[in-house]
Symmetry: C2
Subunit: 319 residues, 2 copies
């Protein structure tokens, strides 16, 4: 089959990859659409060692499921953490921190930038007919945006700042707007600002962000400058949520963190079920974030597009 | 009067300081005992600009109170944050983050390493007769230890590590032991270990701390090495509480914080009332942490003592 192949920080298109065979409990999924995410770009840059097929945002169709042939034909999205169910983290209800996990297209398991992928049946959730492929492909990053409110309480009276209005920042802002909080988004590019305006979400220029003002700041730029801006924007006793993976080290002044009692929260994967509900009931419609679609064979072109400053969602289409 | 005087990172003993006069709402307090804290040592090193009389841990006696002469003679401890009561932080119930605050012996206000100090009457709490001066002088750092459980929930089934068993670490460990959690303390010096053993608190050598093991790690060494050790010891999804102010910058790997969803919480001043209750009901007895007592005139010697590696509480006695 065709697939993206990452090896030694080099991405290439291959057409000689065997179609994977589902292991016990797994299904074979034919990918319909897959998204390129910031983490994929960082993987290529080498923030984490990975050899294989990247990609973890997808919507597809079950084409083989030896243990559940009745599920063949289901249109599905897939939880990307494949977990043991028996380690301390799994038993404590923190399966995404399973010590033995593999992660689709990120850690120890081939991913979604391919014609086919395998995932455990229990990771696959059926998508309602009323949700389009173009919306369903956003379930994984939408779930990641929902993760924030699993980790911290956001009051509807809170002042909240989302720093960065790219692929992930736009989704985070849309999710947080549903909370009713006093939301601002620092957006750099005109197209990002236009998208926010269409959602009635206010934006400001990064330079106009007030200091020590926000109860909660979500850092979604994935840059050291973004983190420093978050540190300036948050009020004493406030919370900074780190939502992006990136390679550069952060510098912190420990005394300032202590004196101002700042809370810093790393945030990764979130729950699929509420993300699907919000797509189905129309509370969130991410389809206008799709900036381009490329056939799988043009994946290098798609990655080059996704790496452009301010780029929104770039999709890869199978067949 | 006699007092410690800090100017241009130089501490000296002065005998020519006028006795302060209480402003509206304030009382004049004759200091009986004052403690030297890590923050005082860091102030002298210049982590924060301060000119004046340092010191914020004390027990004393009200000797003048123009608006409440009935309180003269009360033996008191004092909340160190003097706040406006009307800014956003004060109104939101976060007075220790008052934007206009002064802080006894730390920020904009002379402190407790003196014969006399002034504080607002509302900051002063009467100490029960059954609580000795040697115990009462620990109320401020005990309150700071109690702050942790105002900020994060610690379950009695949690694995908790206190890194550092000095002045503050000992108090934090004693407070956390009352929670019933699975507590470990990384202690470096024999005298620190002996004190923990007397409290039935287990200690380990820093080198023997298991990795990715603890739900909660309290960093009380005030060193970059301590922070790095905390990062190694905390489990994915766990919390690091920063309890010490210090000057050196921390280096953080943002991707690791995000992927492991680590929470970092800066923690400063806490509530006096529960600290006094715990001293009064005997749940905590800090008196064995007193390592030395010096008369106020020997304060330079007292500071030199407090700076020795592994030193516990050094007190300054007035009169």
């Amino acid at each position: 089959m065709q697939a993206a192949w990452l090896e030694n920080n080099t991405l290439r298109h291959r057409a000689d990859i065997p179609v994977p065979a589902p292991s016990a409990g797994e299904a074979l999924v034919k990918v319909r659409l897959a998204g390129i995410c910031g983490t994929d770009l960082e993987l290529v840059k080498g923030y984490y060692p990975f050899t294989g097929i990247p990609g973890h945002e997808f919507v597809g169709e079950i084409v083989a499921a030896p243990e559940r042939p009745d599920r063949i034909g289901e249109r599905v999205v897939g939880e990307i953490n494949i977990v043991c169910g028996s380690c301390r983290a799994c038993r404590a209800g923190r399966p995404t921190h399973c010590a033995r996990r593999t992660v689709l297209g990120i850690k120890g398991r081939d991913g979604a930038l391919a014609e086919y992928l395998c995932l455990p049946l229990k990771n696959l959730t059926k998508v309602a007919d009323t949700v389009s492929d173009e919306a369903a492909v956003f379930v994984e990053p939408l779930a990641a945006a929902l993760r924030i409110q699993e980790q911290i309480r956001i009051n509807s009276t809170d002042r909240v700042l989302v720093l960065g209005a790219g692929r992930l920042g736009q989704l985070v802002a849309r999710i947080l707007a549903l909370n009713g909080c006093e939301l601002q988004t620092a957006a750099k590019y005109a197209k990002q600002r236009n998208l926010l305006e269409k959602q009635q979400i206010s934006w400001i220029d990064k330079k106009a962000v007030p200091e020590a003002f926000f109860d909660i700041v979500v850092e979604a730029t994935g840059t050291v400058a973004g983190f420093d801006a978050a540190r300036r924007a948050v009020r004493p006793g406030g919370t900074i949520v780190l939502k992006s993976t990136y390679k550069d080290a952060l510098q912190l002044n420990p005394s300032a963190l202590v004196v101002d009692e700042i809370r810093l929260v790393g945030s990764r994967c979130g729950p699929f079920a509420p993300a699907l509900r919000l797509l189905q009931n129309g509370s969130v419609d991410p389809q206008d974030l799709v900036e381009a679609r490329y056939p799988l064979k043009d994946l290098l072109q798609a990655f080059a597009h996704a790496e452009q400053p301010g780029a929104l969602k770039v999709l890869l289409q199978n067949g």
